[in-house]
């Protein structure tokens, strides 16, 4: 047994390039995407960064003056005119609209630039900006007309974007809708109550919204953490096909036949693949987690207890992947073909990664996908890691551990059954 293991390790050590790729490539990928994610979700919760062009075709003051001139010509009492005049001159819709982008919430996320229509269209085409907001001619004038005199259709803010349903479009639309809604609401209230009621009493209400977390540390899992774990549990799966691929070479070079001739039990051979799998996965996970903690401070909790828990989850995951290596070895030897490893590395791993939530949580997919995903080694481990990081006790993770151990056991037994009997190894 020990000799087999030593042989496997020596073979792997000889193939240094491949080992490096297996361990370092995922890290490079995590690093690249991690840097990118930092930009998207930075520490201050600034979830995005975008530029919007504003095309100001309206002149607020002129619009106001024009409206005042209109009022002068109406047949109203001087008192009414004076009242409309004074109220209307306070309404600066363009300034109000621009101010929302200067608020504390939006300031860090959205930058606004004034452009001419031509410049803006050019910039949108070149992807330099994410959206154009046009404040059309007579915007203020038409709005005042509608507000005070009920004339006309009111005014319209024009939004121009690349694609209608994109992530950015939704954000900008939402911001604009919030503005128009509260603007229209105030206007409606003013009209209905003839200005006798000021709606801006919101200060008397408790503040709206807020967030809580489940974690005992009171911090949600950051995107970087989720991503690091999601990718790690996915990339360890490649270890299984790599090990089985080497087993196939041993079969082809008659190493396996010689081993069988020497009277050693196939169980020994399979077990050595199982343990090699565990070792590689552990090595991968240790390097991935250590590097991302040291370089990116992915995991901030540095207590011994935290890391012991991580190590335990990693070990159990490693067992499941080790058993997968054993199974793939058996199939490759039995079918005398490397195809199964190609299929596993290419297709099945990706499917597992999606089902198990390595790329994104499964909540937007049909429920049964999430349920299947819990039965993939990576999905189960991901869930265990996330719960542990949020401060769940180990005893609550028992069902997941049990699942992974049962999975490992079944896979290992399958591999023993599938492994060809003595005389059938041609």
């Amino acid at each position: 047994m020990w000799n087999f293991l030593k042989k496997d390790m020596t073979v792997l050590k000889r193939e240094r390039t491949e080992l490096m790729i297996l361990i370092l490539m995922p890290f490079i990928l995590i690093a690249i995407l991690g840097f990118a994610l930092r930009g998207i979700w930075s520490e201050e919760g600034e979830a995005l960064n975008m530029t919007i062009a504003i095309v100001p075709e309206d002149h607020e003051q002129e619009g106001n003056d024009m409206f005042q001139a209109d009022i002068e010509q109406l047949e109203l009492s001087e008192q009414e005119k004076a009242m409309i005049d004074s109220t209307a001159s306070e309404i600066m819709p363009v300034t109000m609209f621009r101010d929302i982008f200067q608020s504390d919430e939006l300031k860090g996320m959205i930058e606004t630039v004034d452009m001419s229509e031509k410049e803006a269209n050019e910039a949108l085409r070149k992807d330099e900006i994410e959206a154009i907001i046009t404040i059309p001619t007579d915007f203020t004038y038409q709005m005042l007309q509608k507000m005070f005199l009920g004339r006309g259709e009111g005014s319209e803010l024009q939004l121009k974007v690349q694609e209608k349903e994109s992530f950015y479009t939704r954000i900008v639309e939402n911001i604009m809708e919030s503005f128009t809604q509260s603007f229209n609401f105030q206007t409606a209230v003013a009209v209905v109550t003839q200005g006798s009621l000021n709606v801006d009493h919101s200060s008397s209400l408790e503040t709206l919204g807020g967030t809580t977390t489940i974690s005992t540390t009171d911090k949600p899992i950051t995107a970087m953490q989720y991503y690091t774990i999601g990718m790690s549990v996915m990339f360890v799966l490649y270890a299984a096909s790599t090990i089985a691929s080497y087993a196939y070479v041993e079969k082809k070079q008659h190493v396996l036949n010689r081993i069988i001739l020497s009277g050693k039990s196939p169980i020994m051979y399979i077990s050595s693949k199982f343990i090699s799998g565990i070792s590689i996965v552990m090595l991968q996970l240790i390097i991935l987690f250590t590097l991302s903690t040291v370089l990116f401070q992915t995991f901030e909790q540095l207590t011994l207890r935290f890391w012991l828990g991580i190590a335990l989850i990693s070990f159990i995951l490693a067992c499941a992947v080790g058993a997968l290596s054993a199974l793939l070895t058996s199939i490759a030897v039995r079918l005398d073909s490397d195809h199964i490893n190609g299929l596993f590395a290419g297709g099945i791993t990706t499917v597992f990664a999606f089902l198990g939530g390595s790329f994104f949580p499964t909540d937007q997919l049909p429920t049964f996908i999430g349920e299947i995903g819990e039965w993939t080694p990576n999905g189960a481990a991901l869930s265990a890691y996330i719960q542990w990081m949020q401060g769940t006790g180990l005893s609550n993770l028992m069902p997941i551990f049990l699942k992974l151990v049962v999975m490992a056991g079944c896979l290992f037994i399958c591999s023993l059954i599938i492994f060809p009997k003595r005389r059938r190894i041609a």
Partner: protein, 364 residues
């Protein structure tokens, strides 16, 4: 050249399992993820829990076209957020709401904006009816709001007839088809290395056949397999409720240039790695990395980071996606795919040149 190609085809006929299994896998996967048949105009589901009777709030929230709010129990919400099945859940309180967050999620921003707006309006309405004590005031305000002073019009440069849910289905179909094709192509390219190892390659070199003919024979075979896989998947899905546009010309050109670029990339990798086992380890990692960075798994438009955007411009799959989306989704013709197609061809020629050079150098 033809005989090398025929040899490969005979080999495939003998063991068609791999080619077929990738094909079946792609179809099943796209089918499960994106659904067979026409979309039921899916909306994003947000899970809500509450300790009070939240029905009035839910009715208001569900007036949205984009979101669907569904009630689960508090315990379910907590467990699902804790296990990472849900990134967040919404708690409705008496006159307020709160998000229970497990993992940060950029999509939550627009949900929160929407919920905030709905709550703010309703709270103000309630407050006004309370202050004024008039029952009818609510209706008066609603009537007034139905005829708003200020409105928004949205115009898109690239307009399509597709909804958000549709776009993501097409994203999955195109992205996954291109992604799985990489494996098929890379896997068959390994044959060259295997032939070199087993000595077939050397024996063939001794025959009157030219070396370029051998390369072309192999590469054309890989090209054919990749092209057919993509073509068959699209063809099948065009009968399963996906409208893939009627312009077959640009679609075929786009697929062909993408497959060419991937075959060349495979040659470049083989110039670096020399044994089939090394390739087995490198290929999936390269393919997955490229797919992630190039936007095959999620739309590249969702990425704002300039570093990521710059990286994605180096990924052939990005141009493949761009060209196919332009033709299939936006019904644009040759002029729209000219740029991505020429970049793919340039990429292909360069990596093919470098790859073959490296391989030949290793030999001597």
């Amino acid at each position: 050249m033809i005989s090398v190609l025929l040899l490969q085809l005979v080999r495939m006929k003998r063991s068609p399992i791999l080619v077929l299994s990738f094909l079946v896998l792609t179809i099943l996967f796209v089918g499960v993820m994106a659904g067979f048949g026409a979309s039921s105009d899916e909306t994003e589901t947000i899970y809500v829990y509450s300790e009070i009777d939240a029905t009035p709030w839910l009715e208001l929230l569900n007036e949205s076209d984009d979101f669907q709010f569904e009630v689960i129990t508090k315990q379910e919400a907590q467990t699902q957020v804790k296990t990472g099945e849900l990134n967040y859940a919404l708690e409705i309180q008496n006159n307020n709401y709160q998000f229970l967050i497990g993992t940060e999620d950029p999509d939550q921003i627009s949900v929160e904006q929407y919920v905030n707006r709905t709550f703010e309006k309703e709270r103000k309405l309630r407050q006004i009816s309370r202050v004024t004590g008039e029952e009818s005031i609510r209706e008066q305000i609603e009537t007034e709001l139905a005829n708003p002073t200020l409105s928004i019009s949205t115009e898109a440069v690239n307009s399509s007839n597709y909804s958000n849910a549709d776009l993501s289905r097409y994203q999955i179909l195109i992205g996954m088809t291109l992604y799985f094709a990489i494996y098929t192509i890379f896997y068959h390219l390994i044959n060259i290395v295997v032939e070199k190892q087993t000595g077939t390659w050397n024996r063939l070199i001794l025959s009157p056949i030219q070396k370029w003919q051998m390369y072309v024979g192999h590469l054309f075979y890989c090209f054919l397999i990749g092209f057919l896989q993509i073509g068959v998947v699209f063809f099948i899905f065009s009968f399963l409720g996906y409208d893939l546009g009627a312009q077959w010309g640009p679609v075929i050109v786009a697929i062909a240039s993408y497959v060419f670029a991937i075959v060349s990339l495979g040659m470049l990798i083989m110039g670096v790695a020399t044994t089939p086992q090394q390739l087995q380890a490198i290929n999936p990692i390269v393919a997955t990395g490229m797919a992630m960075l190039g936007g095959a798994f999620w739309p590249i438009e969702a990425v704002s980071n300039s570093f990521m955007v710059a990286l994605s411009k180096g990924m052939p799959i990005m141009y493949g996606m761009e060209a196919l989306k332009a033709t299939m989704l936006y019904q644009q013709g040759f002029s729209a795919i000219l740029e991505p197609v020429s970049i793919l061809l340039l990429f292909g020629v360069i990596s093919m040149g470098v790859g073959i050079n490296l391989m030949e150098r290793v030999k001597h």
